[in-house]
């Protein structure tokens, strides 16, 4: 599966608001981070079940052969300032 296809599936199935995807291929699977206002105020458990349910509905129970770890963020969680690196 391509990154574009995975983005399209999740955006459509979950109705993601202004999503930002940072996907990469790790081994044979797509993995990475998804940021969207849709996840704001939702628990970790709820977020993960949203993703699993969407992928399973679209790709079937074997979806995990194509999709690896996905980390889910609201924009507030992603947009933080970090200190400079220690040198």
């Amino acid at each position: 599966m391509s990154k574009v296809k995975l983005q399209e599936i999740l955006t459509r199935r979950l109705g993601l608001v202004r999503p930002i995807f940072r996907l990469e291929r790790i081994g044979t699977k797509l993995a990475g981070s998804i940021v969207s206002e849709t996840f704001k105020g939702k628990s970790d458990r709820r977020r993960m079940h949203m993703i699993w349910d969407a992928l399973e509905a679209e790709l079937g129970p074997e979806y995990f052969r194509q999709v690896g770890a996905l980390l889910i963020y609201s924009p507030e969680e992603w947009n933080i300032e970090l200190p400079a690196q220690v040198s």
């Binding site: 770890a69 980390l71 969680e77 933080i80 220690v86």
Partner: protein
């Protein structure tokens, strides 16, 4: 990307390995193989903490210092704290340090050798498994907590 000696891991190797271990943990969790799931989820946390340290501490990255934490979650998260990174994660709302300490109470390096019965008995003694929380439920909570740590650490790796 900074190269390391042949055969040694760099920050991106640790990070990608951690994401793979987290994925493995979910597959094992859904297959009902809870000890394996816990082992891999914990290893994912260790790998991601190592990735953060490698990426954010130039002394480690350049080999001027070595990372002598072993597999100890407490020492790994203290190293991250000493880099000044935890304050940025809004500690009042999201106490990553406490979360990692809790996980380190339940996970141990030799868990990879342990049967599910061994881990369940140990968690029963620690109060993590009880009349209201089965080993299956506790393993799912452990997975979600580990995923939360990776989620927060990924920000530290990416920015």
């Amino acid at each position: 990307m900074i190269k390391t000696k042949s055969g040694s891991l760099n920050g991106d190797d640790y990070r990608k390995g951690a994401l793979e271990r987290l994925d493995d943990a979910l597959i094992l969790l859904r297959a009902g193989q809870f000890s394996g799931s816990v082992s891999d989820a914990g290893r994912a946390v260790e790998g991601m903490l190592r990735a953060v340290i490698w990426k954010r501490d130039a002394d480690i990255r350049t080999g001027r210092k070595s990372l002598d934490t072993g597999h100890n979650f407490r020492e790994l998260i203290m190293h991250v704290r000493n880099l000044g990174l935890l304050a940025a994660l809004n500690p009042e709302k999201d106490n990553l340090e406490d979360k990692v300490m809790d996980l380190g109470r339940l996970w141990f390096n030799n868990i990879r050798f342990a049967s599910s019965k061994f881990v369940e008995t140990r968690w029963l003694r620690l109060g993590e498994v009880n009349k209201r929380r089965s080993f299956k439920q506790a393993a799912e909570i452990f997975y979600l907590d580990c995923a939360r740590v990776l989620q927060r650490c990924e920000i530290l790796c990416q920015k």
